[in-house]
Subunit: 124 residues, 2 copies
DNA sequence: TTGACATATGCCGATATGGGTATATATTGT
DNA sequence: ACAATATATACCCATATCGGCATATGTCAA
């Protein structure tokens, strides 16, 4: 088995730097842009843009609306919200890097699953 | 070229579901755990655990300390903070999008310019 | 020293990925 | 009907990835 399909979840979708740029361009463009506009803004070959958009579409990070022969792509923030929350769960690990990690982790333990208790020292 | 190396940035590192589980387990285990503890908690073959830890190590998502023949792995939140901020930039795109995506997209299309009568293909 | 334990690493195979190029599929304009 | 425009897809290739298994490396214990 290789890496899980990119199309399965938003984490994977935004793992690709160019896909993040696409989302950024869309956001900067007022939230919605045409493939053509994106292609010009990003300066990439059109098929490349379309392909990345296809991936973003599959994980629901963007939605499309046809307008004549153009397609309007819009950012859909929902999936990013879940990622935002996932990372937030680790907030304690960047706020007090050196202190009280254990105490706060206890609270987290109640949220996730039972950790294997092996009370060791807080290493040097 | 295939996807950019997983070791290059945290976005890629956490794209792998199992790696997220590793981080979760570490967090639940008080912020730091032994490879052995992780292996038991996760129930995966040890080499697999070690390899995922190696990736997380390379993007600085975890740090290690040797303790005898064991190695204590610790969550390092910093890289997750940047991801947290990146997603936050899209906050505006999930705050006002509580309704059906399709409906909203069409309403938007009507708002902006000439509406399309052929919503054959929307979000895929 | 020998052996058990803890962890990392190397190699292999199957597969998904991203980029490039060409082309198919609309849709609009003349 | 035909050309032009907008976008999506198919195909190919080079490569990185994950998982499994065997094994190397390092450390403690008797």
């Amino acid at each position: 088995m290789a890496r899980a399909a990119t199309t399965l979840d938003p984490f994977n979708a935004i793992a690709e730097p160019k896909r993040r740029l696409v989302l950024g361009a869309l956001a900067a463009g007022g939230g919605e842009l045409t493939v053509n506009a994106l292609t010009n803004t990003l300066g990439w070959p059109q098929p490349q843009v379309s392909k990345h958009l296809a991936v973003l579409r599959q994980v629901n990070l963007v939605s499309v609306t046809r307008r004549g022969r153009e397609r309007m792509y819009r950012v859909n923030g929902e999936p990013l919200r879940s990622i935002h929350y996932w990372t937030k769960a680790f907030e304690q690990f960047w706020e007090h890097q050196l202190g009280r990690i254990k105490d706060r982790a206890e609270a987290m333990a109640n949220h996730v699953q039972s950790p294997s208790k092996h009370p060791k020292e807080t290493t040097q």
